[in-house]
Symmetry: C2
Subunit: 143 residues, 2 copies
Amino acid sequence: MFSKTCEYAIRALIFIAQKTKDGDRIGIKEIAKGIDSPEHFIAKILQDLSKKGILQSAKGPTGGFYLDKASRKQSLASIVRAVDGDKIFQGCGLGLKQCSETKPCPIHHEFKKVRKDLLQILENAKVGALTDALENSMVFLKR
Amino acid sequence: MFSKTCEYAIRALIFIAQKTKDGDRIGIKEIAKGIDSPEHFIAKILQDLSKKGILQSAKGPTGGFYLDKASRKQSLASIVRAVDGDKIFQGCGLGLKQCSETKPCPIHHEFKKVRKDLLQILENAKVGALTDALENSMVFLKR
DNA sequence: GAAAATTATGTTTTCAAAGACTTGTGAATA
DNA sequence: TATTCACAAGTCTTTGAAAACATAATTTTC
């Protein structure tokens, strides 16, 4: 469904949100361990995302990644968009470039509903809110 | 959503279904043109699928690909399964191997619904039935 | 023998992952 | 207060593997 990159990004963001909600910062190594991902790979992903403002970072001693208040209100949808673009939300199911309402592919109309549902789920899932479920250990992030 | 391979496969199958519904056979070159796909690539895909019984083929002059009655009743879901496997229908949205009902990832329950809807759409879409819409030119297959 | 699929092999591109090196920053220290 | 040091993110380059696409030889069948 999502790219590997995107999967790691979502897991990392939720993890960071949980670990830094008291104003702390968290290093890349701990993140990689926490979500069980390749260290260098997740590092690059997070650097890209911090450039785009999806999360915040600080260099030097006591530095690390963290999420400010605004970032916590972000939805998973904005993370997915930043990483994978919005082809998941609007691209044709059969890969047809010109697929549209007037020139639909054979499954165009049915797919529309699924996409809409998916988008809504991701829009509703705010990064900050998901940390609560994590703390109550209702859900987990390691593979 | 699907792999390129899978997209080509679906388009090809629908195209073949339409072109061979009167008992004809259709060659690989015409298929490639008809769905605007790389010729050698779609050839390999169709050979795999014919081995698996998803469609039929005949060698020699007047040979080509075609669909028998049983194959026409197949759903798009079985094509997707043959090509991409069923990871789309059951894999975790965040790529977690151990994600389950008892140890769900943060979006597990929401995703379940989307997957279920997707599966139902693909199960309901029979290859043979989609050709009617094509003939009425309500839909098209070229990119 | 010619037309078709089939098989085998090779190339290119993209994605996932790893490594080495650079830059910035807070804190100790002299 | 200026210097230096260590720590942490940032950048650049490379490797590995899989997916996407191409070429050539082979087999089957009319």
